[in-house]
Amino acid sequence: MKLSFSAEDEQFRQEVATWLQQNLTGEFAKLRFRGGPGDEHMYPEERKRWEQKLAEGGWTCIGWPTEYGGRGCSIEQQVIFNEEYARAGAPGHVGHIGEGLAGPTIIAFGSEEQKQKYLPGIVAGTELWCQGYSEPGAGSDLANVKTRARFDEEKGKWIINGQKVWTSLAHESDYIFVIARTDPDSVAHKGLGFFLMKMDQPGIDVRGIEQITGTCEFNEVFFDDAECDAGDIVGAPGDGWKVAMGLLGFERGVSTLGQQMQFQNELNQVIEIARRNGAAKNPAIRQRLAKAHTELKIMRYNSMRMLSGQGGSDGSLQKEALIYKLFWATWHRTMGELAMDVLGPESQVLEGGPYELSRLQAMYLFVRSDTIYGGTNEIQKNIIAERGLGMPKEPRVAAK
């Protein structure tokens, strides 16, 4: 076991830190520590320009192969970049769905034409993406997709009808990738297609969902005879589920250490408050803060194991990776509660009217979604029990 990074990697770390220090200035200075989960509605225009600034420095898509405009960085270097990015307080990355999901999917499963058409905009930070998976009737049961796609021979295009929901950044995005049913008689994960669609068209309507925080990061997206070019289906009709799930198994967790750096910033802020208002002298609060600290440390060590692990030969997740979502989401939710309890009655007083939340108040409310989106805690536990421990699935109830 070796815990340190190589001298070369440490030099890379210095390069990243220096660039961020020199560029997170001027109009971007106010973006420090902004735009993360629960705060994604803040400074959208400035953050789009920041995305292009990153691209100019060559700091977008650093893990992609160089032939697609990436930097071909090693896992270690990607980890370092994410750590330094979070340490510097650089803002929530509006391009992350393109860089982390759409792009890698296109690289792995897309046609040469799709690669030429879409990858450069992601690398340049000029074209933003959102993800169209969940639907009102397809939450935990994600394969129960009802959105339909039919091929119109006359127009030579796919015509999409239906609704997606919980689509973050939809109102800021240029493109959306959508799973929709290409075979109307199919059920579950069979008969789906994976489509790349332009957002700015008459058949697509975006409506914000006002959340528990009073702000709108998530949206509903309605498709009413929306069009998708014939060449913009990834894989064949019927391959949609395979394409959508394909990348999950190869997720090695390079962003996890950066995410933990944000968690550390939150914990540090709460500790600072506890020391100032005297909560740090309360034995029950001391226990809870020490537990939060312990679990955040262990979360970091777990990520280091994940990143060092080889994964299964089929790309399957090792046990330490399988449990990660459940662990961090639960930790973060508990952190939100602890933040309010350290603040005491002051936690209930807002920054201003009518409903202006402080960062910690917004965090406390927003983290209730952490244990729901991307697979609820309950779904995560089913996956862990079935894949990690080989326990049998619940018997299925036949569809009516």
Partner: protein, 393 residues
């Protein structure tokens, strides 16, 4: 960065697992735990002669294998899984660490080769004060006293919760100058257990798989050569020794938490109710998923602490993290082992409550290990002091 076992470390782990599965099955554990000293002397001889585990991290110059703390932890994890009844923890994780950290060259040369030959030893540092406030294991728990008599030292007082204190052949004793308190005035001594004035009493304990003893010191005369390091200055070394043992104990707990989960998951796959294996019910699966989640992150915490412990022994750059890493690992593993063992009884249903099934052995060992060297609350308070105390800027 490569936070994974090397091939050699994997081999050590797998060898330990295979050997222990053979020699430390349920019948063997149950036979050993009702014996006077709590272990099978023949098996200990076999471990010492054939496996040479007791010598794992003793440097080669003293006859040891010269391996590190990561290798030690990989082995101890397996001992925890199989509830091995042996003087390994006391001899290697307590006494050997004490000799390595605080021993004079003469003491190392004299005693480490004997430990390599199979001599048993332990650390006796706590008095009854260790039982106060729900358990405290820092300097305040050192209560035995030391006075000078000519060139010799005289040791007096009661030592409590001494692991394998009834059987160890060599004792590392902590004592303080009369009237001193806290971290001041503490000295460490190497004392053969048959020295005149030492009286030992094995304590009957709820967990039968590890024996504790009371040791009373009645004006025990030891020569100046028994003193480890400088008189009255031993706290920093003793703290390091306790931290190192704490890391090993956390590894043992993590192994136990893993095994009690594995046993339970297997049981739920076989046990049928309502015409289904109970493992297919979400109420059971979700408990099992929580168990696995906790064990996996516990494992990450333990392996990290093992790397830190290794650097603490060799003076590496992570040495300064030892207090923190030990408390992180021990607080987390203490809670995880107990919670997994408790859920294991629940998931077994009625048979989990019987003497016949092994679950109670883990349940009892979990609580005993939790309270040895500080439970979760104790270690979290230790972390809280590091995080929260001191001047507000």
């Amino acid at each position: 960065m490569d936070f994974a076992f090397t091939d050699e470390q994997l081999m050590i782990r797998d060898t330990a697992q295979a050997f222990l599965a053979e020699v430390s099955d349920s019948a063997a554990v149950r036979a050993a735990m009702v014996s006077e000293h709590g272990f099978d002397a023949e098996l200990w001889q076999r471990i010492c002669a054939d496996m040479y585990w007791q010598a794992i991290h003793i440097p080669e110059q003293y006859g040891g294998m010269g391996l590190g703390y990561v290798e030690l932890v990989a082995m101890v994890e397996q001992m925890g899984r199989f509830l091995l009844c042996s003087p390994f923890f006391s001899t290697v994780c307590l006494a050997t660490n004490a000799l390595l950290v605080a021993g004079t060259e003469e003491q190392k040369t004299r005693y480490l080769p004997r430990i390599c030959e199979g001599m048993t030893a332990t650390l006796a540092h706590t008095g009854a004060a260790a039982g106060q406030f729900g358990g405290q294991w820092h300097a305040e728990a050192v209560e035995a006293t030391v006075t000078r008599d000519g060139d010799d030292y005289m040791l007096s007082g009661e030592l409590r919760y001494v692991v394998d204190g009834g059987s160890a052949e060599l004792l590392i004793v902590a004592a303080r100058e009369p009237g001193s308190c806290g971290t001041d005035g503490i000295s460490l001594f190497v004392v053969p257990a048959d020295t005149l004035g030492i009286n030992r009493q094995i304590l009957p304990t709820m967990d039968q798989t590890r024996k504790l003893a009371n040791i009373s010191l009645d004006r025990v005369r030891v020569p100046p050569t028994a003193l480890m390091g400088e008189p009255g200055q031993a706290w920093p070394q003793l703290q390091t020794i306790i931290n190192l043992a704490t890391v090993a104990l956390a590894a043992e707990q993590m192994g136990g938490a893993q095994q009690v989960m594995d046993i339970t998951v297997e049981y739920t796959k076989e046990r049928t109710q309502f015409n289904r294996p109970i493992a297919s019910f979400q109420a059971i699966k979700h408990k099992a998923a929580d168990m696995m989640t906790q064990v996996e992150v516990a494992r990450s915490g333990v392996y990290y602490a093992a790397c830190v412990a290794q650097e603490a022994l060799t003076g590496g750059e992570l040495a300064g993290e030892l207090n923190e890493a030990a408390s992180v690992a021990k607080s987390y593993c203490s809670d995880v082992y107990f919670s997994n063992a408790g859920e294991a009884i629940q998931m077994h249903g009625g048979v989990g409550f019987t003497w016949e099934y092994d679950v109670h052995l883990y349940f009892k060992r979990a609580k005993a290990s939790e309270h040895l060297l500080g439970n979760g609350d104790y270690h979290r308070e230790r972390l809280a002091a590091m995080l929260l105390d001191g001047e507000v800027a």
